[in-house]
């Protein structure tokens, strides 16, 4: 059960309270980082960096501030920075069977593991720009509203819409190739 977090205690450097924040949010942070970066190790590093940054910036937290929203902003920005840094390295896996399995009705009830999720996203987002990949992941996978994406990334609504539209076209075109 998620308990109410006392931002006052965190501002004061209470590590037990901070441990609770880590416990409550670690899975969510890791999941967002994995879905944006499509890499398990990077997701782990970003999760660590996110909480360390939260600790360093704890004094700027205001009483009653939505700490989950604050954490989301950090993890999204860190993941986006990583996408931009590695945009020239295209080492996409090419396992078309993965998509066939994902679509298959026999496999529908089986839960995907992190590796499969990362591979599927990596293949879907192959060829997208970092911005397109970020917007696509946040809107289509994390199911965030355009306003939430705007608040988290600082992008304008028009930019979000155009990047999402281009991303969808590319993803669909890429998927068709795999499923031929």
């Amino acid at each position: 059960m998620t308990q109410i977090i006392d931002t006052y205690k965190i501002r004061q450097g209470n590590r037990e309270e901070f441990r609770r924040v880590v416990d409550n949010n670690m899975d969510r942070v890791y999941s967002i980082a994995l879905k944006i970066t499509a890499d398990k190790e990077d997701a782990g590093d970003i999760t660590q960096d996110t909480f360390v940054k939260l600790w360093e910036k704890r004094k700027s937290l205001r009483s009653g501030e939505n700490i989950e929203g604050y954490i989301s902003k950090i993890v999204i920005n860190k993941s986006y920075d990583l996408l931009r840094r590695r945009k020239r390295q295209d080492s996409c896996t090419n396992d078309s069977d993965l998509f066939v399995n994902l679509i298959s009705e026999d496999e529908a009830d089986r839960e995907l593991n992190y590796k499969e999720i990362a591979e599927a996203i990596e293949m879907l987002c192959n060829g997208l720009s970092p911005k397109q990949q970020l917007v696509f992941t946040l809107v289509e996978i994390e199911q965030m509203s355009h306003d939430e994406v705007r608040d988290a990334t600082g992008m304008t609504k028009n930019s979000i819409k155009s990047n999402l539209s281009h991303a969808k076209q590319r993803v669909e075109a890429g998927l068709k190739k795999y499923l031929k």
């Binding site: 880590v22 416990d23 670690m26 899975d27 660590q48 360390v52 600790w55 998509f99 879907l124 289509e140």
Partner: protein, 159 residues
């Protein structure tokens, strides 16, 4: 596109348990522990909201009080300087032999440089000094006159 929707739905719905969750959490806490320092420990009280505001308010009051005090002191020093009288002691000693009231020189100019062996006294103190000197002088003259008169009377009696 139906296939894309299926894939996205499966990705969304999958919530696998994180591998090495405990290690990751401990690694985060260890990094956080390394970043916490003694300054954080000793000055954590500065994060208390009402205390910060009170201290800020108090510091403004202290600065204003200091500025006001400086203005007040400068004004008082200006007034005191106007009341100061500089007297050359050498001159006083010389003039005392003749007549202090007639010959003492009073310098009311505060900006004038004084000699190394000079003193500064307030007007009231100087006036008291002069008055007491004058009283003594009058008594001395009276005593002298009385002595003269006695001598004259003695001479008359002898004659």
């Amino acid at each position: 596109m139906e296939e894309l929707d299926k894939i996205l739905r499966r990705i969304r719905e999958s919530k696998p348990g994180m591998e090495s969750r405990y290690e990751l959490r401990e690694s985060i806490m260890e990094k956080v522990h390394k970043r916490a320092n003694y300054l954080d420990y000793f000055f954590a009280w500065t994060d208390v909201g009402w205390l910060r505001k009170s201290l800020a308010f108090a510091s403004v009051i202290i600065v204003l009080f200091f500025c006001g005090q400086q203005v007040f002191m400068t004004n008082r020093i200006d007034k005191l300087e106007k009341r100061m009288i500089s007297i050359n002691t050498d001159n006083i000693l010389q003039y005392q032999r003749e007549n202090v009231m007639a010959n003492s020189v009073l310098y009311r100019d505060a900006d004038r440089k004084t000699l190394a062996d000079s003193i500064k006294v307030a007007t009231d103190d100087l006036l008291d000094l002069v008055k007491s000197y004058r009283d003594l002088q009058l008594k001395y003259e009276n005593v002298q006159n009385e002595a003269k008169q006695e001598k004259q009377e003695n001479r008359k009696q002898k004659l």
